[in-house]
């Protein structure tokens, strides 16, 4: 014990001398770089002497009555350690003050000298004879006073002047609703863009921005602002300098201020630099207020807070099924969004299960779910509900009545339900209601217009004018193929209910008067063009549509292609044109098309024996914009030995006219034969060799697309 005390005494003495030097020769001292961190332990060690000295004072009355040497020794040790620590604090504090020149204010010097005085006061106390009670009592009191002064001034330096007792004059301006503009908006900007350099540790340019005091003090180049004059303020000037300028802040490569942030700073300086005024205390048309309002809108867009607790995660897990989905609105939000899916799987139990989380549900989506009025009793317990979508449910007015208690409801969708004008009785009981949707209900437009006037805060959406008369689409052929077998039923259809189909098979155009009404499948003899229109009350009749139906006819046993098709459109080779499958005109790449451009189409069809053919129908594609033209001529010749062919028919097709250039349609050439029987029939067709001048492809060869050739007895 004794040795420890001796070492301590020596150590204290050493520190006392050091402290004395530092106190006296402060101006000449330069702290070397490697000692800077020594200064930074000041905030740590300074609390030790305070704690120990206070403890010493508290224990003193009890120890006096004890009067034993061990306790006295411990008390003495405590005092010496406190003394050592106070010197350590003084020395480190002194070094720190050299690092932070910005603190060279009167506050700092009071703190500094009071600190030294306290350390030396303790030193005296340590080495004063225990018998000189009066002197000790005086020293005890004096040290306590010095401790309070040092501590208080130190705290003011670190935490700001108004830390302990906020300035009441400013406090009046602080509205109850929020923080000051400085805390809410300015600090975050500084924090993100400035603090990394201008903090007590780094202190670039002698500027610290992390507390109001040093912020107001400014840096080496002087104060940051001239209150009320943003444009002549240093901080704004530096921010507005070009990025390449040395003095531009924040420096190149660091995150820059956004335009809105700059405007905010300017407005804040122009409005007189207050650290305490809240945004609400400014006029609505004040620039600063406008900017902060804008910033809060941006902020609120992504954050919505609720004042209820989140539901238990395990509970949520239990409720969720494939048909009942309960999820937090976003990560970390206590609010729940609920959807129920699949009408065929719906049970009232789904809703009952939700009662476990009834306080957290803010959105409930029940589209097309057979929810009934009785179920609304359960929904009425979801007190936080903001959005309720009941489109296509079986709800009626009596169910809606139960929503009265949902005072948070903002959005109510009731499209395609049985609600009536009685809805108004609920609307006026829901104070936060903003959107009501009653499309496809019994509520008429004039009533809604009336409500819209009566409750302007609510947006009512109802059907637009749906009575506009529009044209029907043409009927469709229900048969799978336009190539039909002899005697096949022809069926037509239309997807819109209640449409009447009128059709003809004689080539005339059907309309409301002309043509037969379609009542079911019918038959045609041979090949024919079926023309049809769709008509329905309240709609314009459709454009007539033509289905060119071809009977399959006589099938050759085999076919042989004698000329090569274009390499890009080989179709199915020699099988393409007798398989009964037509090519779709919208897709010339379909393998039911075979195309020729470099030379004519030449093919031979072999039948089982000599057959007498009276008619050949040659089907091609027409899409002139894509250079696809009709053939220029078609020749049919017959043979029985596949060597000597006799010309049976030749058909020159008249040149294609410019007026028809936008046509996209299948074409056909019918060739009449005498009926003389042959085993082999050769078909030759030439593509357009030179595209005429009016076409963009003038001078090039046209394409010939063939999908089918029919032979008829």
């Amino acid at each position: 014990m004794q040795r420890v005390q001796t070492y301590l005494s020596n150590l204290i003495f050493g520190f006392a001398v050091l402290a004395l030097i530092l106190m006296l020769f402060d101006k000449y001292i330069q702290v070397p770089a490697w000692l800077i961190s020594a200064g930074r332990i000041h905030p740590l060690v300074l609390h030790l002497p305070i704690g120990m000295y206070v403890l010493y004072m508290v224990m003193l009355p009890f120890v006096r009555s004890a009067k034993d040497s061990v306790t006295d020794g411990l008390m003495d040790l405590m005092l010496r350690i406190a003394c050592l620590m106070s010197f350590l604090s003084a020395v480190t504090g002194s070094m720190l003050s050299h690092e932070l020149q910005a603190y060279n204010s009167s506050q700092l010097s009071v703190h500094r000298y009071a600190g030294f005085a306290f350390a030396f006061g303790l030193y005296l106390l340590c080495f004063t004879d225990t018998k000189r009670k009066l002197l000790r009592a005086f020293l005890l009191c004096a040290n306590a006073t010095l401790l309070i002064i040092t501590g208080h001034k130190g705290a003011e330096i670190t935490h700001g002047k108004n830390f302990l007792f906020p300035d009441n004059k400013d406090a009046i301006n602080t509205s109850s609703s929020g923080q000051s503009v400085y805390t809410e908006w300015i600090i975050p900007v500084f924090k993100n863009k400035c603090f990394s350099c201008h903090n007590p540790e780094k202190k670039k340019g002698g500027l610290i921005m992390s507390d109001t005091l040093s912020l107001s003090a400014g840096g080496k180049s002087g104060p940051l602002w001239i209150s009320g004059h943003a444009d002549s303020s240093l901080i704004i000037k530096n921010i507005m300098l070009p990025l390449s300028d040395e003095a531009h802040m924040p420096p190149e490569g660091k995150p820059q201020l956004t335009a809105l942030e700059i405007d905010l700073l300017k407005a804040w300086i122009n409005s007189g630099v207050s650290f305490n005024r809240s945004a609400d205390s400014y006029q609505k048309n004040d620039t600063l207020r406008i900017i902060t309002d804008q910033m809060s809108t941006l902020k609120n867009r992504t954050i919505k807070s609720y004042n209820f607790e989140a539901a238990d995660a395990e509970e949520l897990e239990k409720i969720n099924t494939h048909f009942l989905v309960v999820k937090p609105v976003n990560v970390g939000s206590p609010a729940l969004s609920v959807s129920i899916f699949l009408a065929s799987e719906y049970k009232t139990d789904h809703l009952k299960k939700l009662l476990a989380v009834k306080k957290q549900i803010v959105q409930l989506n029940l589209i097309d779910i057979p929810v009934r009025d009785a179920d609304m009793q359960i929904i009425s317990e979801f007190s936080a509900l903001e959005k309720l979508i009941l489109n296509g449910t079986e709800i009626t007015d009596s169910g809606i009545k139960k929503l009265e208690e949902l005072k948070n409801l903002e959005h109510l969708s009731l499209s395609k339900t049985k609600v009536t004008n009685d809805l108004e009785n609920i609307i006026n009981k829901l104070p936060r209601l903003r959107n009501v949707f009653v499309n496809e209900t019994a509520i008429k437009k004039d009533i809604i217009d009336l409500w819209q006037k009566k409750y302007p805060q609510i947006f009512f959406c109802c059907a637009s004018a749906a009575d506009e008369k529009i044209k029907l689409s043409p009927p469709l052929l229900a048969n799978e193929n336009t190539t039909i077998t002899s005697g096949e039923d022809i069926a037509l259809k239309h997807y819109i209910k209640g449409v009447k189909i009128k059709y003809t098979t004689d080539g005339s155009i059907p309309d409301t008067v002309n043509g037969r009404e379609y009542n079911g499948p019918f038959k045609i003899s041979g090949s024919a063009d079926v023309k049809a229109v769709a008509v329905k009350e309240g709609w314009y009749a459709s454009e007539p549509i033509t289905f060119s139906l071809f009977e399959r006819g006589v099938l050759p046993d085999s076919t042989q292609l004698l000329s090569a098709p274009n390499i890009q459109y080989p179709g199915r080779g020699h099988l393409t044109f007798t398989d009964g499958n037509r090519g779709p005109i919208s897709n010339l790449k379909d393998p039911n098309w075979i195309a020729f451009r470099e030379g004519p189409f030449v093919a031979v069809c072999r039948f089982g024996g000599p057959v007498s053919i009276h008619k050949i129908s040659f089907c091609y594609g027409l899409q002139v914009q894509a250079y696809v033209f009709p053939p220029v001529d078609i020749k049919i010749s017959g043979s029985n030995d596949n060597k000597n062919f006799m010309l049976l028919a030749a058909n020159k097709i008249p040149p294609f006219l410019k007026e028809d250039k936008d046509q996209v349609k299948p074409g056909v050439v019918h060739l009449q034969l005498t009926g003389k029987p042959f085993k082999y029939y050769k078909v030759e067709a030439h593509n357009l060799p030179v595209i005429p001048k009016w076409h963009p492809g003038k001078g090039e060869a046209g394409w010939l697309f063939i999908d089918e050739i029919f032979f008829y007895k």
């Binding site: 976003n330 899916f341 109510l412 959107n435 749906a466 689409s473 819109i496």
Partner: protein, 484 residues
């Protein structure tokens, strides 16, 4: 299957193994502890996202993307440039073209004669927005739309541009937008795929669409878009064959799952687990799909709104109506493609037909959603992959011209889902060639869409091939100005 050893094994692939090994060794090197994030376990990167929840309160819950494949001309739709008509036939000044590359189709042209819209424009709505006569129904709803006239992209040909618009990269190996949303937000309705694709085709010059546009890329295969059929049966082979009852089907699946689980325990391939999941989803879809795709019960007023073809499977109108039904049923992303917008030649002849295909139904979808109170939570997007040139491709005459691809400026519109209604955003110069105000890059568009759905595009990441991937890759800025 449930044995923890197997659970563990299926999550260990070579990359994970090496990643974890590095943690073990790395922690021994004391000095390196000072380096932040150096040894973060790759598996943890996106862990917080796996909850399938938005990062913050979302504006939109679902997206319906009406993709106009082939690139509709902005100059004949929403970007009104009367000056172009005055400068008819004049050569595009080099100072305006400013080195813009050309496609192979116009590279040989020695002149670039400018041509204005053949179709007149009028102003509509409270916003006084200019819309061409080709889109009379869209014109009626301009006050619900946000028309972005300043979109620009990097690609100049269809396939890369389309792929860029859909996946955020021009090469087709990244997940599509819908797959990212499925990954980020999960499926709302477990009985349907989170990402559905509907195709239709106009009569105009067509460009193909390929399944790579709705791919899951490197994400799990469950995020892949499911293409619906254009036949009356919207998902093929979904119904049970004659003589097979639902019970039989269940038994068959149970047995199949048992067998798959044996395979899974033997090789531990996570793909097998996905496959089991897909079988189960398909089983649930047997009930869900017929119920949801049944559009025959729609009221007469709805049918009139979408037009006479809306009940005919495979038409754009029926796809729009089906998109509403799917969206109502919780499908996160419905992607519609309408082909046929590539008017290199004969724009005057083809564009009216294309416009007729989509005008009524697109407008009807927005109106329909609005009337049901669903527009505010459903984001509808209409537009193509790039714009068309202000000069003519091929021979020019007053009533016949064509336009080539133009990546520097094009127009799309968005509605609902937290988008500001009734505004026009961005502006092009009087030539309709360059953007002069508020450009929106494809990455910005993606960032904005993700933002509307409550996702931070910088946090929605997936680690693959040793780096983190995003839909916006390393760029993208949320366009705050068009958000409510």
């Amino acid at each position: 299957m449930n044995h923890p050893f197997f659970e563990h094994r299926l999550n260990i692939n070579r990359r994970h193994f090496l990643g974890k090994l590095s943690v073990g060794l790395g922690s021994m090197a004391l000095g390196s502890l000072l380096i932040k994030d150096l040894f973060n376990n790759p598996g943890q990167v996106s862990e917080h996202l796996m909850t399938g929840l938005p990062h913050f309160a979302p504006k939109a819950k679902r997206v319906i993307y009406l993709f106009q494949n082939g690139a509709p001309s902005q100059l004949e739709s929403f970007d009104y440039k009367p000056a172009l008509s005055r400068m008819f036939g004049q050569d595009l000044p080099e100072s305006i073209r400013n080195g813009q590359r050309l496609t192979g189709m116009t590279a040989n042209q020695d002149k670039f004669p400018m041509v204005g819209s053949y179709f007149p424009f009028k102003q509509y709505g409270q916003s006084g927005t200019w819309v061409s006569d080709l889109f009379p129904n869209m014109a009626k709803i301009v006050d619900d739309l946000c028309i972005v006239k300043s979109m620009h992209t990097e690609a100049i040909n269809h396939d890369p541009a389309l792929t860029f618009m859909q996946t955020g990269a021009q090469q087709g190996n990244r997940p599509s937008m819908g797959a990212w949303l499925s990954y980020g937000l999960g499926s709302e309705n477990q009985n349907l795929p989170a990402f559905c694709v509907l195709l239709s085709k106009g009569k105009g010059n067509g460009q193909g669409v390929y399944s790579k546009l709705w791919t899951n890329g490197f994400l799990d295969s469950k995020h892949q878009g499911v293409q619906f059929s254009n036949s009356e049966e919207r998902v093929l082979y979904l119904h049970d064959q004659d003589g097979l009852t639902a019970d039989d089907r269940r038994k068959m699946l149970d047995k199949l799952n048992e067998l798959n689980n044996i395979g899974f325990e033997e090789v531990g391939d996570p793909g097998i687990r996905d496959k089991i999941g897909q079988f189960e989803l398909a089983y649930r879809m047997q009930t869900a799909v017929p119920e949801i795709t049944d559009i025959t019960r729609e009221s007469d007023s709805v049918i009139r709104m979408y037009g006479p073809e809306c009940l005919m499977p495979g038409t754009y109108a029926s796809n729009c109506l089906l998109a509403r039904k799917l969206s109502e049923a919780g499908v996160r992303f419905v992607q519609i493609y309408h082909q046929g917008w590539d008017q290199h030649a004969n724009l005057v002849g083809e564009m009216p037909m294309q416009a007729m295909d989509v005008d009524r139904a697109s407008a009807a979808l927005v109106t329909d959603l609005k009337q049901r109170g669903l527009l505010e939570e459903t984001l509808v997007i209409w537009g193509g992959e790039f714009g068309r040139t202000n000069y003519c491709q091929g021979p020019l005459s007053a009533d016949s011209y064509g336009r080539d691809h133009h990546p520097r400026a094009y127009t799309i519109w968005m509605a609902g889902g937290g988008i500001k209604p009734g505004i026009v955003y961005g502006e092009t110069d009087e030539f309709g060639y360059n953007i002069i105000e508020n450009p929106v890059h494809v990455n910005d568009f993606h960032a904005t869409v993700l933002h509307l759905l409550g996702l931070d595009h910088e946090k929605l990441v997936y680690r693959h091939l040793g780096r983190r991937y995003r839909l916006t890759d390393v760029a993208g800025k949320v366009v705050d100005d068009i958000i409510v």
